[in-house]
Symmetry: C2
Subunit: 215 residues, 2 copies
DNA sequence: CAAATATTGTTATATTTTTATCGATAAAAA
DNA sequence: TTTTTATCGATAAAAATATAACAATATTTG
């Protein structure tokens, strides 16, 4: 639906969700328009950078002296980030973190829908978590194929992560979100996003020592 | 303890944990030395970039034709990233995600120690999660002060996040890791890392459509 | 209605980050 | 022992990214 043929830098792409979060806040306070300067100040960025980022996604030009219509900007960002198109995903590993993710209904607002979970632990198999069925891992291939699912979430312990990732790829998964703090060896055409939460927190913790604040 | 006075870019800092994950894997296979080319190939990076990153943290020079000693490099990275110094943290919001984080023992390997959790839900107060006590939120200030804690983790619903963040800052917290997908308005000297998991997954999902793979 | 002002979008400049090049060197091979 | 090779570290070039400068233009103020 939305065009992404314009050159969109990695850095810009990572900033877009933060703009959106900021705009939601303004919209809730019924602020009808917003300037690049306001956004920049709110997020600690440069106003020109904000304008340039916005120019890449906005369908309507901003008005001098006024800025952008908050609701329009929200709609454009949501559209660009694909929050309007639903995409299905599967999750493997219905332990603590897996169940927490299954239990979070907010994914729907981002166009994401976890259709099923998989595990090898007989305790959880056959039950549901937040309305989502938990199947045995052996059924992964069948479900992924049947529903043509491309997105996989790994919440298993580190030792099992590579094996699960391999199974996912074999089943047809093309992008993997991995919470196990390990390096996955996968074909280069598979998009992998490692979410090493502990390392992420450690990085934040480092900033306390260094007192150099980088986001 | 470790010096960070050399100019370390944001981008480099984010790559360091991935080097470490990759090196752990090699070390487990008893690979004694590793070259920048090997690491770069494994992680899809440029070898020169890897060498430069390593130069900023390594205490020993690499040897021509051989590379770096795996264990030395691991030690240097762990040291630089502060995985050896323990730092305490508190967590607010003992719901699904909060409990999952409390239940994860791996934080210890990163020098992180969650000392207590806080909530307002009478159900969980007074109990323990993975050996960590859950107190009423009213006790946050007292605990943070008593143990001189600087690091706070927010796992409450979005509507409560700002209020919890304010309480944390008032209590003396200097760095906040926030899982609620909202923009927090806080003094500029407070380090904030927003962990918008759904947005993160949505970004990964976008790559499926665009088929341009950026990490 | 004219002047002042805030803001946009664009073009130009500066900075940062990445990648390429190259001489030096340790290990391996001839 | 000499030659070849893989690799490092440093410097140089290129690419990407961020910031500054500025003309154009709505809105507000006098």
């Amino acid at each position: 639906m939305q065009e992404q043929n314009v050159e969109m830098s990695k850095a810009t792409l990572n900033r877009l969700p933060s703009y959106l979060r900021y705009l939601y806040q303004l919209d809730k306070k019924n602020v009808p328009t917003v300037s690049s300067t306001t956004i920049a100040n709110g997020l600690g960025l440069n106003p020109v950078q904000v304008r340039k980022d916005i120019a890449l996604v906005a369908s309507v030009a901003g008005k001098p002296k006024t800025g952008y219509a908050t609701k329009d900007l929200i709609a454009d960002l949501e559209g660009y980030l694909g929050y309007n198109n639903t995409r299905d995903a599967v999750l493997v590993g219905a332990g603590g973190l897996g169940r927490a993710i299954l239990g979070y209904d907010g994914f729907r607002n981002y166009g994401l829908n976890i259709v099923a979970a998989f595990d090898v632990n007989e305790e959880s198999i056959g039950k549901e978590v937040n309305g989502k069925p938990v199947y045995h891992l052996d059924n992964l291939d069948s479900v992924v194929n049947r529903f043509k699912i491309r997105l996989g979430i790994i919440c298993v312990p580190s030792v099992a992560a590579q094996s699960v990732a391999d199974k996912m790829v074999k089943a047809g998964i093309r992008a993997i979100w991995c919470f196990a703090p390990v390096h996955l060896n996968l074909p280069p055409d598979i998009a992998v996003k490692g979410e090493d939460l502990a390392a992420s927190l450690a990085l934040l913790s480092m900033q306390l020592t260094t007192s150099s604040l980088n986001e």
